[in-house]
């Protein structure tokens, strides 16, 4: 999208919920759901005297996230109190990190319309989530199940210039945290939340414009739309001389617009100070090394490896979008990765989409797909018959060799049998045979169709074509 003389400056704050069993500072369950206020204890409800103690798994996940985002890991990070008053924050402050976050100075790489992009990660810090409040006119209701659940807040530099770039950055972030297993990336349940900071300036200006924060956008498509709307709104403000206010706005997907939520408090209004309940979080190099050594392969490296196996860039990207699909592909690849990629992308994904299933619920296991491809490659069945077998596998879950045996679908490669079929077809269609012999080569297709039909699709196409050509020439 072009904005004439203006350029957009976009930074994202992504909150990633770390999938630990217990909360960041207490032993209450951190799992989604549960009865109202079931996952609470004196600690996460802010009872006086309760001492918050850090969850070691959350720290490990924090380090893992930082390393995956190419950050440096601070060996002495500090928890700080961020003070604000809201009933879903029972202590009256959130335990977060301020001037000494766990992770700093990293980057995330992705491609946007074929062009490589690298966005700086300024910081990624640990903090606890707040509870959930619902509002009912003359009262509000509070559920503290989520209060204290561990989060990483990942802050990008204001380096992005378009809504598309911001959405792709967020998609890549989700992919990374899912690959390394620190977050399930479920946007509906709020495991991954995205706040977008948007400002505009005249092209060539180095000074940043007044920034507006758009909060709580729960899909990547909406990130794109909300930012696009906001850029246009700010340009309209500039053009009409209306001031742009530093504020928080919400996005309404039904109306496709943003609206003002509250005037953004200045940062120092939170009156951060080191939490006296916490000691310095000391990380040893050995722990960082251990996390690094156990780091699973990241999506970008996996896609690169797939290309080296002969896949197109597009196929490699498609297959690495979701961790489960990439895993499935690797198990199905066997000796013919290219064929496995084709079957997954064109056949399996279509069936999954149509039946609204995840690949983990696929009735066809990766190993079964590998067997099907092996049957084609060995010449046991033709590619055409394979589609029939695939459909049968999808509905019955049976192994392909069983289906081929049960239905008698083995490809006919026996030249004698095919010659017999071809002879019959030519004898039954003397007029067309004469046409072919008089030079109308187009009729060849007609004979292929007839002979294939007569063989119930089982004749090896290569062998049959060769015999047909020979016999027609007579």
């Amino acid at each position: 999208m072009a904005f004439n003389d203006y350029e957009a400056v976009i930074g994202l704050e992504i909150h990633v919920q770390l999938q630990t069993n217990s909360k960041l500072f207490c032993s209450s369950s951190a799992h989604f759901g549960g009865g109202d206020n079931e996952h609470t204890c004196p600690n996460c409800t802010g009872q006086p005297g309760a001492l918050p103690v850090v969850n070691e798994k959350a720290v490990e996940f924090g380090i893992k996230t930082g390393l995956a985002l190419n950050c440096s890991i601070r060996k002495d990070s500090v928890f700080a109190r961020k003070q604000y008053f809201y009933p879903d924050l029972p202590r009256g402050y959130q335990i977060s990190q301020f001037d000494k976050p766990l992770c700093e100075n990293g980057y995330l790489e992705f491609t946007l319309e074929g062009a490589p992009k690298r966005v700086t990660i300024e910081r990624a810090h640990m903090e606890e989530d707040a509870g959930k409040s619902t509002h009912h006119g003359d009262y509000s209701l509070i559920n503290l199940n989520r209060a204290g659940v561990p989060l990483m807040e990942i802050v990008s530099a204001p380096e992005m210039r378009s809504a598309q770039e911001a959405a792709e950055y967020a998609r890549t972030m989700r992919k990374v945290v899912r690959y390394i297993g620190v977050c399930d990336g479920n946007l509906e349940e709020g495991s991954l939340r995205c706040d977008c900071n948007v400002s505009i300036r005249k092209r060539g200006d180095s000074k940043l414009g007044t920034k507006v924060e758009i909060k709580n956008i729960n899909s990547f498509r909406f990130i794109e739309k909300a930012i696009e709307f906001e850029i246009q709104r700010q340009i309209d403000c500039k053009e009409t001389g209306e001031p742009i206010v530093q504020e928080t706005r919400l996005y309404d997907p039904d109306k496709n617009r943003t609206f003002s939520m509250r005037t953004k408090e200045e940062a120092h209004d939170y009156r951060y100070f080191p939490d006296p309940d916490q000691l310095v979080l000391e990380i040893e190099q050995a722990q960082i090394d251990a996390v690094k050594a156990a780091m699973p392969e990241l999506p970008a490296s996996r896609a690169k490896r797939f290309v080296e196996q002969g896949l197109s860039e597009f196929d490699a990207q498609t297959l690495t979008q979701e961790l489960e699909i990439a895993d499935y592909f690797e198990r199905a690849a066997g000796k013919n990765p290219k064929a496995a990629a084709n079957w997954i992308i064109s056949e399996l994904m279509r069936e999954l989409n149509e039946s609204k299933r995840e690949i983990s619920d696929s009735p066809i296991q990766a190993e079964q797909l590998a067997q099907l491809i092996a049957l084609i490659d060995a010449g046991t069945i033709s590619g055409k018959i394979a589609k029939t077998v695939f459909a049968e596998m999808w509905s019955s879950g049976k192994n392909p060799d069983v289906i081929v045996k049960e239905k008698g679908l083995t490809q006919i490669t026996d030249t004698g049998a095919i010659e017999k079929i071809v002879d019959d077809v030519i004898a039954a269609n003397p007029a067309q045979a004469a046409e072919y012999r008089s030079g109308k080569e187009k009729v060849f297709g007609f004979f292929v169709g007839q002979a294939m039909k007569a063989s119930k699709g089982q004749a090896s196409p290569d062998v049959m074509n060769e015999i047909l050509r020979k016999k027609l020439k007579g």
Partner: protein
């Protein structure tokens, strides 16, 4: 803020508002004096040359003790029993929006 300058009344009002404290006019003046004294004290501390000193976050040498990631159930009824007002198992509070 320089040494001689007193904390302004507006600053005290802002801080009390952020801390959700309702102060009378006379309390406001008294707090203004006290806070100014506190800040003066810090200014005195700030005179000390700390170029070679590592920043101190907590005054102890103990290192952080972490907790294993294990869920321990707590009878949340005990928590809910403390709530002045409830709706089912939810805390009921004055309206916030």
């Amino acid at each position: 803020m320089s040494k001689t300058e007193k904390l302004t009344l507006q600053a005290v009002q802002k801080v009390s508002k952020l801390a959700r404290l309702k102060l009378t006019d006379s309390e406001m003046t008294s707090i203004q004096n006290q806070l100014s004294a506190v800040l003066e004290n810090f200014e005195q501390i700030a005179q000390v040359n700390t170029d070679e000193v590592r920043p101190l976050v907590t005054p102890t040498e103990i290192t952080q003790v972490l907790r294993p990631d294990v869920v321990e159930d707590f009878d949340s009824e005990k928590i809910l029993a403390n709530a002045p007002e409830k709706a089912g198992r939810l805390f009921k509070v004055p309206p916030v929006v």
